[in-house]
């Protein structure tokens, strides 16, 4: 088998995650989907690092994880705050972007 | 490298704008003097340019050339030929008068107690100088991209001048005036912006073509003309036509050509008279000038291809503008439509592609600038006195303010191109140039002469003659400042009308070169007279014909 398959898998997962972001309304699930996408990217990076035979890909993946962690922390905090104020975690309720 | 004279002519007014804007709010008067001073310095520099320019010399003179954006072959290239020099001089001459004429246009209204932050006066004059700087540099730029930048940037100060400092003497309610003014300003901006963006596309296209064929893309007019001349660059005719149209559209909007003209009456009607002069006498000239310099020389084939259509549009402009001028009730709009008619003449001359036509068109640009300035500024003085732009509000002014009426009449006569005044020469040259290649067009265009007489004289008759209206009875005659504005312009009109030779000598070589680029020859007369001149007629005056100039008519 060729490690390229890992890339295919990553692509698949990424797509699924993206689709999830689009179709789910619950902010938490939304975030999970984002995580899924990030993980897919990581997988791709790792695979690349293997294909190229150097570790930079892994480094990037590592940074991605860190950033993802930060993002999740802040994001979830925001969700909690929003939930407190309006007792709902649905993104459709916050349609304030319309003038 | 020598002192960058051309850059200086553009930088000085720019600095002047900054300095004027920087004058503290309290010293309004100071701001005016600063602006005037800088404009005069510019005038001096322009005079130096005029002196240093050698008509017989190289095509472009006083050139400056520095790499600017290397990756796109954009260069900071300045250089003037005869046409550019003439228009440069025109601009430099007009701006001081415009500033003087607008001396009080941006003052705080009576009664309104301006707070310490109130600085529109500074802004007004700063903007005028800014426009001057941009116009000057677009006359000097020989790099298409450089030209384009300032051609477009010009819109910004103009927009604020039109929208910000409208004509207070609208005879309408304050908010009505305001809405009309902003409408005019936005219209001006949108029209010119539309043209400019289409041109931008063409500019990019030009770069693509040159990059494709010359290896390195360039915007330099000289290089492109060179490349065309020695066959390195030959565009596909379809490409060339598209590019030509892109350029021409922008210029046709700027120099209002029917049917793209409707912004001009609004803009000139709503803005103050000096700004109106700035628009029609200075800024619009960039359009016609650019037709001569860029459209014709970059795309000679396409120009020839488009000539018939453009000539017809120009003819329509002439007749249409004149007829609408006759139909106007608003003095300033009338002058605006008259200008449209005149621009028709200019474009007609340019595309007649004869020495007379293009030489006449160039002279026309200068003369029209001066004559319109004279007429419009006097009209502005009149309007500020009475506080109305409507013709029927006037009558018998001639009796109470003879000097004003006299200057107004002279301006009007110049507008109808009376022989002896400058515009006659240019108009006649344009007509001859057109006639010698397209007799029918020439004949139709002459109708414009009669119509011009109609609208000018009707205007004069309704405003100046007849029984004195009650509202104008107490109208003061021209003040010293206003005379200082008008008298030199009129003197200039007469001088250029009697002795245009120096100007013609500067312009002719440039025109010849343009025609050589376009590769058009003047049509030969059918039965050329063997020896033109007096000698065959009366042997008596062999010596006489030479010792001229000592005679009268001076």
């Amino acid at each position: 088998m060729n490690p390229v398959n890992y890339l295919y898998l990553a692509a698949l997962l990424f797509t699924i995650g993206a689709a999830g972001v689009v179709i789910r309304r619950n902010a938490i699930v939304l975030f999970m989907c984002v995580e899924l996408m990030l993980n897919a990217c990581n997988l791709a990076f790792v695979t690349f690092s293997r294909l190229h035979g150097n570790l930079d890909g892994q480094i990037i993946a590592f940074f991605t994880m860190v950033v993802a962690a930060a993002e999740v922390v802040v994001g979830l905090a925001i969700i909690v705050t929003v939930f407190r104020s309006r007792h709902s975690a649905s993104v459709d309720d916050a349609s304030l972007m319309k003038l | 490298m020598s002192f960058p004279l051309l850059t200086a002519t553009a930088v000085v007014p720019a600095l002047g704008a900054v300095a004027t804007a920087a004058v503290p709010a309290a010293q309004r008067a100071a701001a005016k003097w600063v602006a005037l001073g800088f404009s005069l310095v510019t005038l001096a520099l322009a005079a130096i340019v005029l002196v240093r320019f050698d008509p017989g010399g190289a095509r472009f003179q006083l050139t400056e050339s520095h790499a600017w954006i290397k990756d796109f072959g954009v260069r900071y290239e300045l250089g003037v030929d005869g046409i550019a020099v003439a228009l440069l001089a025109l601009t430099a001459v007009l701006i001081p008068f415009i500033i003087l004429a607008g001396w009080h246009d941006a003052d705080p209204l009576e009664g309104a107690r301006p707070n310490r932050r109130w600085r529109p006066t500074q802004g007004f004059f700063a903007l005028i100088l800014m426009v001057e700087a941009m116009v000057v540099i677009s006359f000097e730029a020989t790099d298409v991209f450089l030209f384009y930048i300032f051609f477009e940037a010009m819109l910004i100060p103009m927009y604020f001048l039109i929208g910000g400092f409208g004509d207070r003497a609208g005879g309408r309610s304050e908010e009505e005036t305001a809405t009309q003014r902003s409408y005019a300003a936005v219209k001006f901006l949108l029209y010119n912006l539309a043209g400019g963006l289409i041109m931008l596309a063409a500019v990019v296209g030009l770069y693509a073509v040159t990059a494709d064929q010359l290896g390195t893309g360039t915007f330099s007019l000289q290089e492109i003309v060179q490349a065309r001349a020695n066959g390195h660059l030959n565009m596909a005719s379809s490409t060339e036509r598209l590019l030509f149209l892109g350029f021409f559209f922008a210029f046709a909007v700027k120099a209002p050509l029917w049917p793209l003209h409707t912004w001009l009456p609004n803009a000139m009607g709503e803005s103050t008279a000096p700004v109106a002069v700035l628009i029609t006498a200075v800024v619009d000239k960039v359009g016609t000038f650019a037709m001569l310099r860029f459209c014709l020389q970059l795309f000679p084939e396409a120009s020839k291809w488009a000539t018939p259509a453009i000539m017809i549009l120009a003819l329509i402009s002439i007749i249409y503008g004149a007829l609408l001028a006759i139909g106007q009730r608003d003095i300033k709009r009338l002058i605006a439509y008259a200008s449209i008619s005149h621009f028709g003449f200019i474009i007609l001359g340019i595309f007649a592609m004869t020495t007379q036509g293009q030489g006449g068109a160039t002279l026309y640009m200068v003369n029209h600038g001066v004559s319109t300035a004279a007429l419009m500024l006097v009209a502005g003085f009149l309007i500020t006195r009475r506080g109305s732009r409507l013709i029927e509000d006037y009558g018998g002014v001639q009796k109470v303010a003879p000097v004003l009426a006299g200057t107004f009449l002279i301006g009007g006569l110049a507008t109808l191109s009376l022989p002896g005044l400058a515009p006659f020469i240019s108009e006649f040259l344009v007509l001859v140039g057109t006639f010698s290649r397209y007799p029918v067009f020439g004949v139709i265009a002459t109708v414009g002469i009669v119509l011009a007489a109609l609208y000018v004289l009707i205007l004069y008759q309704r405003t100046m003659t007849g029984p004195v209206k009650a509202e104008v009875r107490s109208m003061p005659d021209l003040r010293v400042r206003e005379l200082v504005v008008v008298a030199p312009l009129i003197a200039l009109l007469i001088f250029l009308g009697v002795y245009p030779k120096p100007l013609a000598n500067i312009v002719n070589p440039a025109v010849d070169h343009t025609l050589s680029v376009v590769d058009k020859k003047d049509p030969r007369p059918e039965h050329p007279v063997t020896d033109a001149g007096w000698f065959s007629y009366s042997p008596k005056s062999e010596g006489a014909s030479h010792d001229g100039a000592s005679g009268g008519a001076k």
């Binding site: 060729n2 390229v4 295919y8 997962l13 179709i23 035979g53 590592f62 922390v73 | -």
Partner: protein
């Protein structure tokens, strides 16, 4: 993971292939579950599963350090964080999968499929026939290798991510922390205030009125038999997790009446066998008929006695 050590190989070991196909399938399923489950908890769990599988794949790809980090940090920390929040916001809060935005689903599907296909096409375009593994890269040990890179080449990025993390932590605290502006009120003050206002002077009624369900999520019934939201905890109310049982009590009554009718109609043995019971029921029935409230309380007491 032997494939990882092979330099410039063109294929991996069959073991890894097998592992890939099996776990890959599961990962995809997990991902799908993540986005299709109604309850956030289930999504979270299936996502965790996917992540673990990914961790395994990392290991398979010679990213030992990352594999561990994936398990520890992601699956261990982040997903748990998710679960906490889910708990806070409501474990059972399941948003209906019914789409409210018109055409959203179709668009999503369309874009998704298109996107995926294009992505795969892109990967397919890339010529990745031969590949050199992490042999010499990992020769000094994967962790050391990473460390060498992080602390030399990527040191600034590393520092900056550190700063980012701190900021994120602080930000999270700021966002979630609720400042108590005034001193907490004592019980006395609260009671006094209640008296002053005059609304529900006694403590709020307790939920769970029936012996059969005395859970906190069941509202007490008002005299007319309608449930009173007041009796349920605010949080549950917020999550809309209130079980309304007012109806079923009436339904039971109806059932009882039928049965009693049947019983009164014809006395058979098998009905007589449950005679005593029936009698009592009957009596209550009549009582119930005139005074539901007593009946309710009696039944309640009886329930309590059971």
């Amino acid at each position: 993971m032997s494939g990882g050590l092979a330099a410039a190989a063109s294929t991996t070991s069959t073991g890894e292939a097998l592992q890939f196909w099996v776990l890959g399938t599961i990962a995809v399923l997990g991902a799908l579950c993540t986005i299709l489950m109604r309850k956030a908890v289930h999504s979270a769990l299936s996502l965790a599963g996917t992540m673990i599988i990914l961790a395994i794949f990392y290991l398979a790809n010679g990213a030992y350090f990352l594999g561990i980090v994936q398990i520890v940090v992601y699956t261990g920390a982040i997903m748990m964080l998710f679960l906490f929040v889910v708990m806070l916001v409501g474990v059972t809060a399941a948003d209906s999968l019914k789409e409210t935005l018109k055409g959203q689903r179709w668009l999503a599907a369309l874009c998704g499929i298109g996107f995926g296909i294009l992505l795969c096409a892109g990967i397919g375009n890339a010529s990745l026939k031969s590949w050199n593994g992490l042999g010499q890269a990992n020769s000094g040990g994967n962790v050391e290798g990473l460390a060498a890179l992080i602390f030399t080449k990527y040191v600034f990025a590393f520092e900056i991510t550190g700063a980012l993390l701190i900021t994120a932590a602080v930000g999270a605290m700021v966002l979630t922390h609720r400042e108590r502006t005034e001193r907490a009120r004592t019980q006395r003050e609260q009671s006094e205030e209640r008296v002053r206002i005059g609304r529900n002077v006694p403590p709020l009624p307790a939920p769970g009125v029936y012996a059969r369900h005395n859970a906190v999520d069941i509202p007490g019934l008002l005299p007319d038999g309608t449930p009173s939201e007041l009796t349920v905890n605010a949080t549950l109310r917020g999550r809309g997790q209130i079980r309304d049982v007012s109806r079923e009590s009436l339904a039971e009554l109806a059932a009882l009446e039928q049965r009693s009718k049947r019983w009164l109609g014809r006395k058979t043995d098998e009905t007589a066998a449950s005679g005593g019971d029936a009698e009592t029921e009957n009596g209550e029935n009549t009582a119930n008929g005139e005074n539901g409230e007593n009946a309710g309380s009696a039944r309640n007491s009886r329930g309590a006695a059971k």
